[in-house]
Protein backbone atom coordinates (compact mmCIF):
# COMPACT_ATOMS: atom_id res chain seq x y z
CA UNK A 1 0.00 0.00 0.00
CA UNK A 2 1.18 3.52 -0.75
CA UNK A 3 1.97 5.96 1.98
CA UNK A 4 -0.90 8.02 3.24
CA UNK A 5 -0.70 10.67 5.91
CA UNK A 6 -4.23 9.90 7.05
CA UNK A 7 -3.32 6.33 7.99
CA UNK A 8 -0.45 7.54 10.15
CA UNK A 9 -2.73 10.14 11.74
CA UNK A 10 -5.07 7.36 12.72
CA UNK A 11 -2.27 5.21 14.07
CA UNK A 12 -1.02 8.06 16.26
CA UNK A 13 -4.54 8.66 17.50
CA UNK A 14 -5.06 4.97 18.25
CA UNK A 15 -2.19 5.23 20.71
CA UNK A 16 -3.35 8.55 22.14
CA UNK A 17 -0.32 10.31 20.71
CA UNK A 18 1.78 8.80 23.49
CA UNK A 19 5.43 9.11 22.46
CA UNK A 20 6.45 6.09 24.53
CA UNK A 21 4.26 3.98 22.23
CA UNK A 22 6.32 4.78 19.16
CA UNK A 23 7.39 1.14 18.68
CA UNK A 24 3.77 0.01 18.69
CA UNK A 25 2.96 2.78 16.20
CA UNK A 26 5.79 1.66 13.94
CA UNK A 27 4.41 -1.88 14.11
CA UNK A 28 1.10 -0.57 12.87
CA UNK A 29 2.84 1.44 10.15
CA UNK A 30 4.71 -1.69 9.08
CA UNK A 31 1.55 -3.75 8.82
CA UNK A 32 -0.29 -0.95 7.03
CA UNK A 33 2.31 -0.29 4.31
CA UNK A 34 4.38 -3.50 4.51
CA UNK A 35 7.39 -1.26 5.28
CA UNK A 36 8.35 1.90 7.12
CA UNK A 37 8.16 4.76 4.62
CA UNK A 38 10.54 7.70 5.04
CA UNK A 39 7.54 10.04 5.27
CA UNK A 40 6.06 8.08 8.15
CA UNK A 41 9.25 8.48 10.17
CA UNK A 42 9.23 12.20 9.51
CA UNK A 43 5.60 12.50 10.48
CA UNK A 44 5.96 10.47 13.67
CA UNK A 45 8.97 12.59 14.56
CA UNK A 46 6.95 15.80 14.14
CA UNK A 47 3.78 14.56 15.81
CA UNK A 48 5.45 12.92 18.79
CA UNK A 49 8.37 15.34 19.14
CA UNK A 50 10.94 12.54 18.97
CA UNK A 51 14.16 13.14 17.01
CA UNK A 52 14.02 11.47 13.62
CA UNK A 53 17.40 9.90 14.32
CA UNK A 54 15.94 8.01 17.25
CA UNK A 55 13.02 6.66 15.25
CA UNK A 56 15.40 5.63 12.50
CA UNK A 57 17.45 3.76 15.10
CA UNK A 58 14.34 1.90 16.28
CA UNK A 59 13.30 1.12 12.71
CA UNK A 60 16.70 -0.42 11.95
CA UNK A 61 17.17 -2.10 15.33
CA UNK A 62 14.09 -4.30 15.56
CA UNK A 63 13.53 -7.12 13.14
CA UNK A 64 9.84 -6.34 12.80
CA UNK A 65 10.61 -3.35 10.62
CA UNK A 66 11.75 -3.02 7.07
CA UNK A 67 12.71 0.16 5.25
CA UNK A 68 11.94 -1.36 1.88
CA UNK A 69 8.57 -2.85 0.93
CA UNK A 70 8.28 -6.51 1.74
CA UNK A 71 6.79 -9.07 -0.60
CA UNK A 72 3.20 -10.16 -0.70
CA UNK A 73 4.06 -13.30 1.25
CA UNK A 74 6.66 -13.50 3.97
CA UNK A 75 8.53 -16.75 4.28
CA UNK A 76 10.26 -17.24 7.60
CA UNK A 77 12.60 -20.19 7.86
CA UNK A 78 13.15 -20.94 11.52
CA UNK A 79 16.75 -21.29 12.65
CA UNK A 80 16.07 -22.00 16.30
CA UNK A 81 18.25 -24.64 17.93
CA UNK A 82 15.81 -27.48 17.42
CA UNK A 83 15.37 -26.50 13.77
CA UNK A 84 19.11 -26.06 13.34
CA UNK A 85 20.01 -29.54 14.43
CA UNK A 86 17.25 -30.91 12.24
CA UNK A 87 18.63 -29.13 9.18
CA UNK A 88 16.97 -25.70 9.22
CA UNK A 89 19.95 -24.10 7.52
CA UNK A 90 19.70 -26.48 4.58
CA UNK A 91 16.01 -25.67 4.28
CA UNK A 92 16.88 -21.98 4.15
CA UNK A 93 19.45 -22.65 1.45
CA UNK A 94 16.83 -24.66 -0.42
CA UNK A 95 14.44 -21.69 -0.38
CA UNK A 96 17.24 -19.38 -1.51
CA UNK A 97 17.83 -21.61 -4.52
CA UNK A 98 14.14 -21.99 -5.28
CA UNK A 99 13.39 -18.26 -5.07
CA UNK A 100 16.75 -17.07 -6.40
CA UNK A 101 17.12 -14.55 -3.59
CA UNK A 102 19.21 -14.46 -0.45
CA UNK A 103 17.64 -14.49 2.98
CA UNK A 104 16.44 -10.99 3.79
CA UNK A 105 15.61 -10.22 0.16
CA UNK A 106 12.42 -9.96 -1.83
CA UNK A 107 11.79 -11.63 -5.18
CA UNK A 108 11.71 -9.40 -8.23
CA UNK A 109 7.99 -9.96 -8.73
CA UNK A 110 7.45 -8.79 -5.09
CA UNK A 111 5.67 -12.05 -4.41
CA UNK A 112 7.92 -13.39 -1.64
CA UNK A 113 10.24 -12.04 1.00
CA UNK A 114 12.56 -14.67 2.40
CA UNK A 115 13.69 -14.32 6.00
CA UNK A 116 15.47 -16.52 8.45
CA UNK A 117 14.30 -16.12 12.03
CA UNK A 118 15.79 -17.02 15.36
CA UNK A 119 13.19 -19.41 16.76
CA UNK A 120 9.46 -19.14 16.32
CA UNK A 121 8.81 -21.10 19.51
CA UNK A 122 7.22 -24.10 17.84
CA UNK A 123 10.21 -26.37 18.31
CA UNK A 124 8.25 -29.60 18.23
CA UNK A 125 7.57 -28.95 14.56
CA UNK A 126 11.22 -28.63 13.56
CA UNK A 127 12.36 -27.86 10.97
CA UNK A 128 9.70 -25.22 10.68
CA UNK A 129 8.85 -22.76 7.94
CA UNK A 130 6.22 -20.09 8.40
CA UNK A 131 4.57 -18.46 5.42
CA UNK A 132 2.60 -15.42 6.55
CA UNK A 133 0.63 -16.84 9.49
CA UNK A 134 0.75 -20.45 8.40
CA UNK A 135 3.18 -23.02 9.80
CA UNK A 136 4.69 -25.75 7.66
CA UNK A 137 6.13 -28.33 10.00
CA UNK A 138 8.83 -30.96 9.54
CA UNK A 139 9.98 -29.37 6.31
CA UNK A 140 12.18 -31.17 3.84
CA UNK A 141 13.97 -29.91 0.76
CA UNK A 142 11.64 -32.06 -1.29
CA UNK A 143 8.58 -30.20 0.06
CA UNK A 144 9.80 -26.68 -0.80
CA UNK A 145 8.28 -26.50 -4.29
CA UNK A 146 4.97 -27.79 -3.02
CA UNK A 147 4.83 -25.16 -0.32
CA UNK A 148 5.71 -22.34 -2.71
CA UNK A 149 3.08 -23.46 -5.20
CA UNK A 150 0.31 -22.84 -2.66
CA UNK A 151 1.12 -19.14 -2.63
CA UNK A 152 2.02 -18.54 -6.23
CA UNK A 153 -1.56 -18.18 -7.48
Amino acid sequence: MNYSEKSVDKIVKDHNGDASKVILMLQDVQSEFRYIPREAVKKLSDDLDIPEARIYHIATFYKAFSLVPRGEHEIRVCLGTACHIKGGKRIAEGFERALKVKAGETTKDKKFTLETVNCLGACALAPLVQVDEENHSKMTIEKIDKVLKQYKK
Partner: protein, 239 residues
Protein backbone atom coordinates in the same frame (compact mmCIF):
# COMPACT_ATOMS: atom_id res chain seq x y z
CA UNK B 1 25.72 17.84 51.45
CA UNK B 2 28.95 16.01 50.84
CA UNK B 3 28.93 12.58 52.36
CA UNK B 4 32.35 11.03 52.65
CA UNK B 5 33.05 7.32 52.40
CA UNK B 6 36.15 5.23 52.89
CA UNK B 7 37.30 3.06 50.05
CA UNK B 8 40.47 1.17 49.20
CA UNK B 9 42.24 1.99 45.94
CA UNK B 10 45.00 -0.43 45.02
CA UNK B 11 45.45 -1.28 48.69
CA UNK B 12 45.52 2.28 49.94
CA UNK B 13 42.67 3.46 52.13
CA UNK B 14 41.27 6.82 51.07
CA UNK B 15 38.34 9.09 51.86
CA UNK B 16 36.24 10.14 48.90
CA UNK B 17 32.92 11.72 48.09
CA UNK B 18 30.12 9.20 48.16
CA UNK B 19 28.81 8.49 44.69
CA UNK B 20 31.84 9.92 42.86
CA UNK B 21 32.84 7.68 39.98
CA UNK B 22 35.82 5.41 40.50
CA UNK B 23 37.39 6.88 37.36
CA UNK B 24 37.30 10.42 38.69
CA UNK B 25 38.73 9.25 42.02
CA UNK B 26 41.56 7.41 40.31
CA UNK B 27 42.36 10.37 38.07
CA UNK B 28 42.51 12.76 41.00
CA UNK B 29 45.12 10.49 42.50
CA UNK B 30 47.03 10.09 39.24
CA UNK B 31 46.21 6.42 38.85
CA UNK B 32 46.03 5.93 35.10
CA UNK B 33 42.94 4.25 33.70
CA UNK B 34 42.53 4.33 29.92
CA UNK B 35 39.25 5.44 28.38
CA UNK B 36 37.87 5.79 24.86
CA UNK B 37 34.20 6.60 25.27
CA UNK B 38 34.53 8.91 28.25
CA UNK B 39 34.28 12.68 28.21
CA UNK B 40 33.61 14.75 31.31
CA UNK B 41 31.03 16.81 29.44
CA UNK B 42 28.93 13.73 28.71
CA UNK B 43 26.97 11.26 30.77
CA UNK B 44 29.04 8.13 31.41
CA UNK B 45 28.29 5.61 28.69
CA UNK B 46 30.29 2.56 29.73
CA UNK B 47 30.60 0.87 26.34
CA UNK B 48 34.25 0.87 25.28
CA UNK B 49 35.09 -1.20 28.36
CA UNK B 50 38.62 0.15 28.53
CA UNK B 51 38.22 1.57 32.02
CA UNK B 52 37.53 -1.74 33.73
CA UNK B 53 38.59 -2.22 37.32
CA UNK B 54 38.02 -5.05 39.74
CA UNK B 55 36.04 -4.38 42.88
CA UNK B 56 35.32 -6.31 46.01
CA UNK B 57 31.99 -5.64 47.60
CA UNK B 58 30.57 -7.71 50.43
CA UNK B 59 33.13 -10.40 49.64
CA UNK B 60 32.15 -10.58 45.97
CA UNK B 61 34.69 -9.84 43.26
CA UNK B 62 33.47 -8.16 40.09
CA UNK B 63 34.89 -6.45 37.06
CA UNK B 64 33.10 -3.13 36.49
CA UNK B 65 33.55 0.01 34.43
CA UNK B 66 35.11 2.74 36.56
CA UNK B 67 33.57 5.55 34.50
CA UNK B 68 30.15 4.99 36.01
CA UNK B 69 30.68 2.96 39.16
CA UNK B 70 29.88 5.04 42.23
CA UNK B 71 32.03 5.02 45.35
CA UNK B 72 30.40 3.30 48.32
CA UNK B 73 31.60 2.71 51.87
CA UNK B 74 34.01 -0.17 52.18
CA UNK B 75 34.55 -0.73 48.48
CA UNK B 76 37.89 -2.22 47.52
CA UNK B 77 39.09 -1.24 44.07
CA UNK B 78 42.02 -2.62 42.13
CA UNK B 79 42.99 -1.26 38.74
CA UNK B 80 45.41 -3.91 37.53
CA UNK B 81 44.29 -7.37 38.57
CA UNK B 82 44.85 -10.40 36.38
CA UNK B 83 41.25 -10.30 35.19
CA UNK B 84 41.37 -6.60 34.42
CA UNK B 85 44.61 -6.99 32.48
CA UNK B 86 43.36 -9.95 30.46
CA UNK B 87 40.03 -8.33 29.67
CA UNK B 88 41.51 -4.94 28.82
CA UNK B 89 44.20 -6.46 26.65
CA UNK B 90 41.72 -8.51 24.66
CA UNK B 91 39.51 -5.43 24.28
CA UNK B 92 42.52 -3.59 22.86
CA UNK B 93 43.27 -6.58 20.62
CA UNK B 94 39.66 -6.50 19.37
CA UNK B 95 39.82 -2.77 18.71
CA UNK B 96 43.18 -3.13 17.01
CA UNK B 97 41.57 -5.61 14.63
CA UNK B 98 38.74 -3.18 14.04
CA UNK B 99 40.81 -0.04 13.50
CA UNK B 100 44.37 -1.26 12.80
CA UNK B 101 45.60 2.06 11.40
CA UNK B 102 44.29 4.21 14.19
CA UNK B 103 47.00 6.09 16.10
CA UNK B 104 45.09 6.22 19.38
CA UNK B 105 44.53 2.46 19.42
CA UNK B 106 48.07 1.75 18.28
CA UNK B 107 49.39 3.86 21.16
CA UNK B 108 47.26 1.96 23.66
CA UNK B 109 48.38 -1.37 22.24
CA UNK B 110 52.00 -0.35 22.50
CA UNK B 111 51.59 0.95 26.05
CA UNK B 112 50.05 -2.31 27.22
CA UNK B 113 52.22 -4.56 25.07
CA UNK B 114 49.33 -5.92 23.05
CA UNK B 115 50.29 -7.43 19.73
CA UNK B 116 47.92 -7.87 16.83
CA UNK B 117 47.99 -10.68 14.36
CA UNK B 118 45.69 -13.24 15.94
CA UNK B 119 42.46 -11.71 14.68
CA UNK B 120 41.03 -11.00 11.28
CA UNK B 121 41.08 -7.30 10.42
CA UNK B 122 37.78 -5.46 10.14
CA UNK B 123 39.19 -2.12 8.97
CA UNK B 124 36.57 0.24 10.29
CA UNK B 125 37.92 3.45 11.71
CA UNK B 126 34.85 4.08 13.83
CA UNK B 127 35.13 2.30 17.17
CA UNK B 128 31.51 3.05 18.12
CA UNK B 129 32.33 5.02 21.26
CA UNK B 130 29.18 7.01 20.54
CA UNK B 131 30.86 10.28 21.42
CA UNK B 132 29.51 12.03 18.28
CA UNK B 133 25.93 10.88 18.83
CA UNK B 134 25.97 11.73 22.51
CA UNK B 135 27.55 15.15 22.00
CA UNK B 136 24.98 16.07 19.38
CA UNK B 137 22.26 14.92 21.76
CA UNK B 138 23.46 15.97 25.21
CA UNK B 139 25.64 19.00 24.57
CA UNK B 140 24.51 20.58 21.32
CA UNK B 141 20.90 19.45 21.72
CA UNK B 142 20.30 19.18 18.00
CA UNK B 143 19.90 15.38 18.02
CA UNK B 144 20.71 15.08 14.34
CA UNK B 145 22.65 11.87 14.90
CA UNK B 146 21.73 8.47 16.14
CA UNK B 147 22.73 4.89 15.66
CA UNK B 148 21.48 2.57 12.99
CA UNK B 149 21.21 -1.23 12.93
CA UNK B 150 22.39 -3.51 15.68
CA UNK B 151 25.21 -5.87 16.52
CA UNK B 152 28.18 -5.86 14.18
CA UNK B 153 26.23 -3.69 11.74
CA UNK B 154 25.83 -0.85 14.22
CA UNK B 155 26.91 2.54 12.85
CA UNK B 156 26.46 6.16 13.85
CA UNK B 157 24.09 7.65 11.31
CA UNK B 158 21.76 10.37 10.20
CA UNK B 159 18.19 9.28 9.47
CA UNK B 160 18.09 7.05 6.39
CA UNK B 161 21.82 7.73 5.91
CA UNK B 162 20.77 10.83 4.03
CA UNK B 163 21.84 14.40 4.45
CA UNK B 164 20.50 15.53 7.77
CA UNK B 165 17.98 18.32 7.74
CA UNK B 166 18.63 19.17 11.35
CA UNK B 167 22.45 19.10 11.46
CA UNK B 168 23.72 22.65 12.04
CA UNK B 169 27.24 21.81 10.95
CA UNK B 170 28.76 22.89 14.27
CA UNK B 171 31.43 20.22 13.99
CA UNK B 172 31.19 19.14 17.62
CA UNK B 173 31.04 15.51 16.52
CA UNK B 174 34.31 16.00 14.68
CA UNK B 175 36.08 17.52 17.66
CA UNK B 176 35.09 14.74 20.07
CA UNK B 177 35.75 11.81 17.77
CA UNK B 178 38.80 10.00 19.22
CA UNK B 179 39.80 8.30 15.97
CA UNK B 180 39.37 10.98 13.32
CA UNK B 181 36.69 8.91 11.65
CA UNK B 182 34.43 11.93 11.10
CA UNK B 183 35.78 14.20 8.39
CA UNK B 184 34.96 17.88 8.06
CA UNK B 185 36.26 20.56 5.74
CA UNK B 186 35.39 24.17 4.79
CA UNK B 187 35.71 24.89 1.09
CA UNK B 188 34.44 27.68 -1.22
CA UNK B 189 32.09 29.12 1.35
CA UNK B 190 30.67 25.79 2.35
CA UNK B 191 31.12 23.36 5.21
CA UNK B 192 31.19 19.68 4.38
CA UNK B 193 30.83 16.82 6.86
CA UNK B 194 31.17 13.81 4.62
CA UNK B 195 29.98 11.21 7.09
CA UNK B 196 26.58 12.85 7.38
CA UNK B 197 26.45 14.03 3.75
CA UNK B 198 26.10 17.53 5.08
CA UNK B 199 26.85 20.55 2.92
CA UNK B 200 26.05 23.87 4.59
CA UNK B 201 26.52 27.44 3.49
CA UNK B 202 28.92 29.44 5.65
CA UNK B 203 27.97 32.89 6.87
CA UNK B 204 30.29 35.76 6.02
CA UNK B 205 31.35 38.75 8.08
CA UNK B 206 29.72 41.84 6.60
CA UNK B 207 32.81 43.86 7.31
CA UNK B 208 35.89 41.78 6.49
CA UNK B 209 34.28 39.04 4.47
CA UNK B 210 35.75 36.21 6.51
CA UNK B 211 33.71 33.06 6.95
CA UNK B 212 32.25 32.76 10.45
CA UNK B 213 30.29 29.54 10.77
CA UNK B 214 27.46 27.71 9.00
CA UNK B 215 24.39 29.91 8.64
CA UNK B 216 22.23 27.21 10.14
CA UNK B 217 24.42 27.04 13.22
CA UNK B 218 24.27 30.78 13.79
CA UNK B 219 20.49 30.77 13.33
CA UNK B 220 20.25 27.94 15.83
CA UNK B 221 22.26 29.77 18.47
CA UNK B 222 20.45 33.05 17.85
CA UNK B 223 17.14 31.32 18.33
CA UNK B 224 18.25 29.43 21.38
CA UNK B 225 19.76 32.43 23.13
CA UNK B 226 17.13 34.86 21.86
CA UNK B 227 19.75 37.11 20.28
CA UNK B 228 18.98 40.00 17.95
CA UNK B 229 18.61 39.37 14.21
CA UNK B 230 21.89 41.05 13.31
CA UNK B 231 23.94 39.54 16.10
CA UNK B 232 26.13 37.44 13.85
CA UNK B 233 26.56 39.92 11.01
CA UNK B 234 30.11 40.58 12.09
CA UNK B 235 32.89 38.17 12.86
CA UNK B 236 34.70 37.96 16.19
CA UNK B 237 37.54 40.18 14.97
CA UNK B 238 35.34 42.93 13.55
CA UNK B 239 33.05 43.22 16.54
Amino acid sequence: MKEVVKIELNGEEIEVKKGATLLSIARERHVYIPTLCHNDALEPYGVCRMCLVEIEERGRMRVVTSCNYPAKEGLKVKTDTERVVLTRNVVIELLLARAPENEEIKKLAEFYGVKGGRLELVNDECILCGMCVRTCDEVVGVKALGFANRGIDRVPATPFMESSETCIGCGSCVYVCPTGYIKMRDENGKRYIENWKVELELSRCESCGAYIAPKRQLDYIRNLADLPEDFYNLCWNCR
